[in-house]
């Protein structure tokens, strides 16, 4: 069972995150006090730490993060904060967090980001080729085949597909796609991502017996042969 430490002083928020994670099969522990949190973060083994920034007694969550990193702990940390300005975000990333999410947030967005962070922290081999159902993707040659039939994709469409593929079976949000594929750190007003996905879908899933790209309502998208999964624990 995966273990998550939630360092958050707001009971309501902490409960919301903890309940959500427990439903996904996690063992979630909430710590409301900054001083206590440092000890627990360092002494116990966690798969991921969710860290609030403004903690009681004027403790900045980032100081906990710095302590952790200075002790050589590589535990993935997702910062969850109301401080949304660019320089605050940069400060968080500099302190060594793996992702920075601003409040208010949807749990689905947090869950998707935790999943992405966990995946990144696992040292994987350099993958050259990936297979999903009858689709074969060559990540080096940038070619795609479905049931042996080559599919022509534009470079950006290929990047979109590759990102979905790397997070196979997991939900990725629109914001994550904008950041990873277009390097945009803001949300355009029009739902541009939806249109790109539907275009990609028309190329990949057209005439195929099994659809690979699925919409997860209100959250984002997932690529899997068996439809969307709510399974977050690997």
């Amino acid at each position: 069972m995966r273990r998550c430490l939630i360092i958050e002083d707001d009971t309501e928020n902490a409960q919301y995150v903890a309940t959500g994670l427990r439903e996904l099969g996690w063992l979630a522990t909430v710590c409301r006090d900054g001083v206590d949190a440092v000890g627990r973060a360092v002494e116990e083994a966690w798969d991921v730490i969710i860290l609030d920034r403004m903690l009681p007694n004027d403790i900045d969550g980032l100081s906990i993060l710095r302590t952790l990193r200075s002790l050589g702990r590589r535990t993935p940390v997702v910062v969850l904060s109301a401080l949304a300005a660019t320089d605050e975000r940069v400060r968080g990333l500099k302190a060594g967090c793996d992702d920075y999410l601003t409040k208010p947030f949807a749990f689905s967005e947090l869950a998707a980001r935790i999943e992405a962070v966990l995946r990144r922290s696992q040292p994987g081999d350099v993958v050259r080729e990936m297979h999903v159902a009858d689709m074969k993707v060559d990540l080096i040659a940038r070619s795609v085949e479905r049931a042996g039939r080559p599919i022509a994709l534009q470079p950006r469409e290929f990047r979109l597909l590759a990102y979905l593929l790397l997070h196979q079976g997991r939900v990725v949000t629109r914001t994550m796609l904008l950041e990873a594929v277009w390097d945009y750190r803001f949300d355009p007003q029009t739902n541009v991502i939806d249109v790109h996905i539907s275009r990609l879908r028309s190329k990949i899933d057209k005439d195929a017996p099994v659809a690979l790209i699925h919409t997860v309502r209100g959250v984002g998208y997932t690529l899997s042969p068996g439809g969307p999964t709510r399974e977050l624990a690997g």
């Binding site: 949304a84 300005a85 660019t86 320089d87 601003t102 208010p104 949807a106 950006r156 277009w182 390097d183 945009y184 750190r185 803001f186 949300d187 355009p188 007003q189 029009t190 739902n191 541009v192 249109v195 790109h196 539907s198 275009r199």
Partner: protein
């Protein structure tokens, strides 16, 4: 130092005027001292050389003709009516009695000296001061030659008096000048201070009255007024923004509350609630987006992001945005084309510029009906780099263009959006020292993001 003087001394005008006055007094004193030395001093030296010359002549006279002849000569000199008021001659014989002359000789002056000296004497029976030279002649008799100093002394007194009264008058004038100067300054600065006090009390409409004189104070007052105008405009802007923000946030909040209350009080709450909750979530998510956009605009306007400016290719930004929007444009039946200049480099924040360009293209797509065309081009022109987004949609009426860019201003309420897109483009353009120009494409809109070229 008394309290009153301390108060006066603390006035810079008074201090300046007083120091200036003291300088004038000093200059005057130096001038008068030079004048005094040049007049009184020179006259005294001339008298001394005359005494020397006369002594020499009389000594020669005695040596060639003898003492008796000298006595006669002296009597002649005293009796000739020339300089009789001032000349002093006396010959005292070796036996001690006066052979000729007009002095009543006392013992002190009867001994010869090398130098000319001044002494109180009795000349022709009247006491006065004289400069004297006493010489012992070869036969033992004593010759006294001198000059009465009554007139030179009177002149000296007069000069001294004039100098003293002149100095006093100058000093008085310096003090009076200092007081007047201080009052003048106080009056001019007082007007500025009075305005400042009123503004501090909250009356931002107050301005410094500008005097008719085109002096430094008038210029200073004008500068202060210009500054106050700017502050006033900013305050008005802030008030306006707070009002619109309050309006745009309270309205959805009250909508949510109304819907939830209605559901709670419905005949069958269990059935009504899910829909109300869905509505509330959608509205609150929208509010969150509005908040986020407002904070981003505020962040841009604060200017802190200038610190991380770097060279950015406007082409790369444009291509990225075009690749993001080509699918949407295609889906809406719009043609999205572009022409790019060779090297449109700017110094700026890549993320923000991408945001601005994306917003301009986003707007063009929203306001251009199906079948329309959108063209994006970049161009370097001298000291500026321009990115233009041109569409053939409905455009913006000329009279509305100045209002575009204000937060929450929306041309068409039927088109989805929050009215923050162009506001953020404008803020980003300003952060980069550039402008956002809107023009008529007849039909359609031309939106130009004009940025300064690096080093321009």
């Amino acid at each position: 130092m008394s309290g009153a003087f301390a108060r006066w001394w603390s006035s810079i005008a008074f201090r300046q005027a007083l120091i200036f006055g003291a300088l004038v007094v000093l200059t005057m004193t130096v001038l008068l001292v030079i004048f005094y030395v040049q007049t009184v001093g020179v006259w005294q030296r001339r008298i001394d050389s005359q005494i020397d010359a006369t002594t020499q002549r009389l000594v020669d006279y005695q040596e060639t003709r003898g003492s008796a002849a000298l006595a006669t000569h002296i009597n002649n000199l005293l009796g000739d009516g020339i300089d009789s008021d001032t000349e002093v001659y006396t010959l005292v014989g070796p036996d001690g009695h006066i052979a000729a002359g007009n002095l009543t000789v006392t013992g002190e002056i009867a001994s010869p000296t090398r130098r000319i000296f001044e002494h109180r004497v009795v000349r022709a029976g009247r006491a006065s001061r004289s400069r004297l030279r006493v010489t012992r002649l070869r036969d033992g008799s004593i010759l006294i030659v001198g000059r009465d100093m009554q007139d030179p002394h009177e002149l000296e007194e007069l000069t001294r008096g004039a100098i003293l009264s002149g100095a006093i008058v100058t000093l008085l004038m310096a003090v009076v000048g200092a007081v007047l100067f201080r009052q003048q300054l106080e009056r001019r600065i007082g007007a500025i201070r009075e305005t400042a006090v009123q503004i501090e009390r909250g009356d931002l409409a107050q301005r410094v009255p500008i005097s008719a004189q085109q002096d430094e104070f008038a210029r200073l007052s004008r500068d202060i007024n210009a500054m106050l105008d700017r502050i006033h405009a900013l305050m008005e802007g802030v008030r306006h923004v707070s009002n619109t923000i309050a309006h745009n946030i309270r309205t959805p909040l009250s909508r949510v509350l109304a819907r939830l209350y209605t559901a709670q009080n419905a005949a069958d709450p269990v059935q009504a609630l899910p829909e109300a909750v869905g509505f509330a979530i959608a509205e609150i998510q929208d509010l969150n987006v509005v908040f986020d956009k407002l904070l981003r605009i505020a962040e841009v306007e604060a200017g802190a992001r200038r610190q991380t400016f770097a060279a950015v290719s406007l082409n790369a930004v444009a291509v990225n945005a075009l690749e993001l929007y080509d699918a949407v444009a295609e889906a809406k039946g719009l043609t999205l084309t572009h022409t790019l200049d060779a090297q449109p480099l700017v110094t700026g924040d890549g993320d923000l510029l991408a945001n601005a360009v994306a917003n301009l293209i986003d707007n063009a797509i929203k306001y251009t009906p199906s079948g329309g065309a959108i063209h994006v081009d970049t161009r370097c022109e001298g000291s500026s780099v321009t990115l233009t987004v041109r569409d053939n949609g409905r455009g913006i009426p000329a009279e509305e263009r100045t209002r575009v860019g204000a937060r929450f201003y929306r041309l068409d309420r039927a088109v989805p959006g929050w009215g923050l897109g162009l506001a953020s483009v404008l803020a980003i353009a300003r952060l980069h020292g550039g402008t956002l120009q809107l023009a008529d494409a007849d039909p359609g809109l031309i939106a130009r993001l004009v940025l300064p070229a690096p080093g321009a």
